[in-house]
Symmetry: C2
Subunit: 143 residues, 2 copies
DNA sequence: ACTCACGCTTACGTTAACGTCAGCAACGTA
DNA sequence: TACGTTGCTGACGTTAACGTAAGCGTGAGT
């Protein structure tokens, strides 16, 4: 196991993930990232990079940064004592239900979009046949 | 086909969906709902109720009200002309990609939560065995 | 010594999606 | 007729998640 001591500057990490410097600094402000400091400059390690990706995924899912924090922090929780572990299990259950609900929502929406698309294509086909009967219109480009 | 002329007041609809009156009025302000008016009072029909449910689903999915509008409006688009239909098909494709991305994100997150849960339960089991060896602790309640 | 490029902090600005409050109208009822 | 409920319209307030701008520091080139 190599320790993986790659390091990213703030703008490298920002470019790679299509976010602004301000966003990364903001995530540090709210405690989601904690890059090393060399002088005043931030140095991001693999750990920060991984956390950033988890954050962005949470963001795509529409979670708030607060919710994202509870999720992301689960991943590097120390074994800890019984109370913490059962609390963690509760949190996992909560998040799982939320995610299941969202997945159902997504599947319903996708199904309905498919219906709309079908109707849409039928309408288009109808219009095509109507156009055939009236023949090509003036003003149309022919090669 | 009965016309389904059920009618809801604003507070009935709000209670049923666990939102505030302000929220429903706001959705009207931004054009997502357009209830009938009897005098100044709003009267919501089945159509509004259905749209509200679509709106709330979009909200759970983390879409902005603007994005929700483009989705919800797809459902009652008139057949229209070719340009509109192909535009609609494009919009559907866009939304489908977004939703697919989100579904992948959800499945990844669920898988990782399952891993965390497994580790968590293992840690708990370890602690249980350790407790067995040290015997019951003082201060514990026995029936 | 000068100039970029890159980075930092501080702090006010912005947008979305409502919350909250004041003031008023209509309506059933005790 | 007084009152409680329900609903309305402004209009200002709030929170999250950054945007944006000012002013400054620092190391690599020229």
């Amino acid at each position: 196991m190599t320790p993986d001591d790659r390091i990213w500057t703030i703008s490298q990490l920002a470019r790679e993930h299509a976010v602004t410097l301000r966003t990364l600094r903001h995530y540090e402000d709210v405690g989601l990232l904690s890059p090393e400091r060399r002088g005043t400059a931030r140095l991001f390690h693999q750990r920060d990079r991984t956390r950033l990706r988890l954050i962005l995924r949470g963001r795509r899912l529409g979670f708030t940064l607060g919710e994202i924090a509870t999720i992301v922090d689960m991943y590097d929780e120390q074994p800890g004592e019984v109370g913490q572990l059962t609390y963690l299990l509760e949190q996992i259950a909560v998040r799982r239900e939320e995610l299941d609900q969202r997945r159902r929502d997504i599947e319903d929406t996708l199904a309905e979009l498919a219906e709309v698309e079908t109707r849409c294509r039928e309408d288009l086909a109808r219009l095509d046949r109507a156009e055939d009967r009236t023949g090509p219109r003036a003003g149309e480009a022919y090669p």
